[in-house]
Amino acid sequence: MRVAIIGAGVIGLSSALCIHEQFHSLLPSLELEVYAEHFTPHTTSDGAAGLWQPYLSDHGNLQETLWNKETFDYLLGHLHSSAAKEMGLFLISGYNLFTEPVPDPSWKNIVLGFRNLTPKELELFPGYSYGWFNTALMLEGRSYLPWLTNRLTQRGVKFFHKKVESFQELFSQGVDVVLNCSGMRSGDLQPDPELQPGRGQIIKVLAPWVKHFIITHNLKSGIYNSPYVIPGSEFTVLGGVYQHGNWSEENSAKDHKSIWDNCCRLLPALQKAKIVGEWSGLRPARPSVRLERESIRLGNVQAEVIHNYGHGGFGITIHWGCAVAAARLFGSILQEKKQLATRPGPRL
């Protein structure tokens, strides 16, 4: 049973790991192969700061909130393991700031210690009159992706550095199931007008005195179009750009100035911070995550594709819940192909 995963970002690698963990002992013939144009440290996941935090509202998409929770709980469970540091996983507290009161987010009971900001805390942020404090997690792609890669390599998963041009290409080579975790490039494999880039740009600085994340929100300009500061283990990320429909991965001087000026206004001490890098990336944005099976007829063969893409600016936040769901879909494919012995049940 050959399974090909297209994409080696957080979604592709975690889906591969989840499937291997769950099925390799039940299915000795299982062979996993990861195909990608980009590997760490050149994926979108590597550029993200790595803060676990969903968007402000789930727009009634309860499934995504459940996947977010599953991911948070999974990561929290790994905090005390010896792998935490290698995974790039650690606790972090911080602030979400608003210029007006807003309803509590869908994730208020998922994170730790969620509460409103006190008046004294708001004094720290002139111009903001309302906000939240909570403790969440950081999962840095620069560490997590290599960690996932090591786990997969130990399990005998093969990696291929190539751009897959079509699902056909893989099926004609004898692949049985394809997992499409190609993020922003999914449109190249199968047109999807709902998938659009949400371009982001960040400045990396050395500001080791900053120990909290600070995310401001401007309800008019939309998510992540307002300054944010996220301290990582090696550098601090300054951001606040979300440009829907912009495909450019070049750093823009105009965006740099706006990020720098806005973040320095938010935290005056940042003026003394040393800039050590800059990066632009495309959030694979979609009204909802596409996580579903698709059967493709190829001649007289039924080819199975599991789509798992469109995680926008919350890929790290939601990844494990989606990986588990993708593994469940894989399980149902195996059942249908009678690859898995069904558990003996009561004979009625």
């Binding site: 540091k85 507290s93 730790l112 805390e121 005195w209």
Partner: protein, 341 residues
């Protein structure tokens, strides 16, 4: 007295902040800091500078609270300014966990720190051996940056600083009008204060930049305080020990205790071991005294004995000491005008 000459003996956080308060309260004063040690070799440099209070047994709570409030307010303003990184002042959030529930649910400082609240059940799950906890955000003064920043402010205010071992406060009487004694543990020898005793503290300073939160055991012995570049792991409270040499067994013990609170510390690098003697006393001595020998008087203001709470109350006691210096100046001017009659 046109320009009173004030000598401040001691260049730890108490000496430097007191000298600075004197320049602020009395701009016409000429202030000189004298010390045998300056940063990074003071006791203050060993301390983490974490603003989490404990209580001085013999000082009224309202006085400790006032000192802490003044200090917190002062540092809060710096942390919020463009100078924060230079001064080494930054906000840190975290948890104080208790194996047995403390008597007071809301300690005297709970409304001074930010966002104080009991820890939730979910948060306590991370600490299976502890049954109660407090979550809050407070300030940390990193040394050497904070001491260097104070030195720069002093220089800008026209104060002088000299490396000098003062063996006896009286030796300063001919050069200075008022002497301020901020010698910490040195006061044991310098003024013969037998109520002053060392409480030895050993700490580890490690590279673990993924640790962004503080964790402190309510017993005060085990703590993890993330600073700008290094995380301070502690500690010990050895009453009466004068030894400044690091102890290897203690290092191992501190590391193990901290790893049990935060397992990821197993991956910490560049472990440095430091020792400091907390200059402890039943209560901080902030007091005026007049030394006299052969008809010559020397006003002295004492500001020492802060024990484990130097950073906690430094600005508050510095202001009080500066106020006492002003009283000394008034007394001197009063007696000098009397002398003219």
């Amino acid at each position: 007295m046109a320009s009173p000459k004030v000598a401040v003996v001691g260049a730890g956080v108490i000496g430097l902040s007191t000298a600075l308060c004197i320049t602020e309260a009395c701009p016409s004063c000429s202030v000189t800091v004298l010390s045998d040690q300056f940063s990074p070799n003071t006791t203050s440099d060993v301390a983490a500078g974490m603003l989490i209070p404990h209580t001085y047994p013999d000082t009224p709570i309202h006085r400790q609270k006032q000192w802490f409030q003044e200090t917190f307010t002062y540092l809060f303003a710096i942390s919020n300014s463009a100078e924060a990184s230079e001064a080494g002042i930054h906000l840190v959030s975290g948890w104080q966990v208790f194996k047995s529930t403390p008597k007071e649910e809301f300690p005297f400082w709970s409304d001074i720190v930010l966002g104080f609240r009991p820890m939730s059940e979910a948060e306590l799950q991370k600490f299976p051996q502890h049954r109660f906890g407090q979550a809050f955000t407070t300030l940390k003064c990193d040394c050497p940056p904070y001491l260097l920043w104070l030195e720069n402010r002093l220089k800008a205010a026209g104060a002088q600083m000299y490396t000098r071992k003062v063996a006896d406060l009286w030796e300063l009487h001919s050069e200075y009008d008022i002497v301020v004694n901020c010698t910490g543990m040195g006061a044991h020898q310098l003024v013969g204060d037998k109520q002053l005793f060392p409480v030895r503290g050993q700490v580890l300073k490690v590279h673990a930049p993924w640790v962004k939160q503080f964790i402190r055991d309510g017993d005060g012995l085990t703590y993890i305080y993330p600073g700008i570049h290094k995380v301070t792991l502690g500690g010990t409270r050895e009453k009466g020990s004068w030894s400044l040499s690091p102890d290897a067994g203690t290092t191992r013990d501190i590391f193990d205790r901290c790893c049990s609170l935060e397992p990821s510390l197993q991956g910490a690098q560049d472990i440095e071991v430091k020792v400091g003697l907390r200059p402890s006393r039943q209560c901080v001595r902030v007091q005026r005294e007049v030394l006299s020998q052969g008809g010559v008087k020397l006003p002295v203001v004492h500001n020492y004995g802060h024990g484990a709470g130097g950073f906690l109350v430094h600005r508050g006691t510095a202001k009080e000491a500066a106020h006492l210096v002003e009283e000394c100046i008034s007394a001197l001017q009063g007696s000098s005008s009397r002398a003219k009659l």
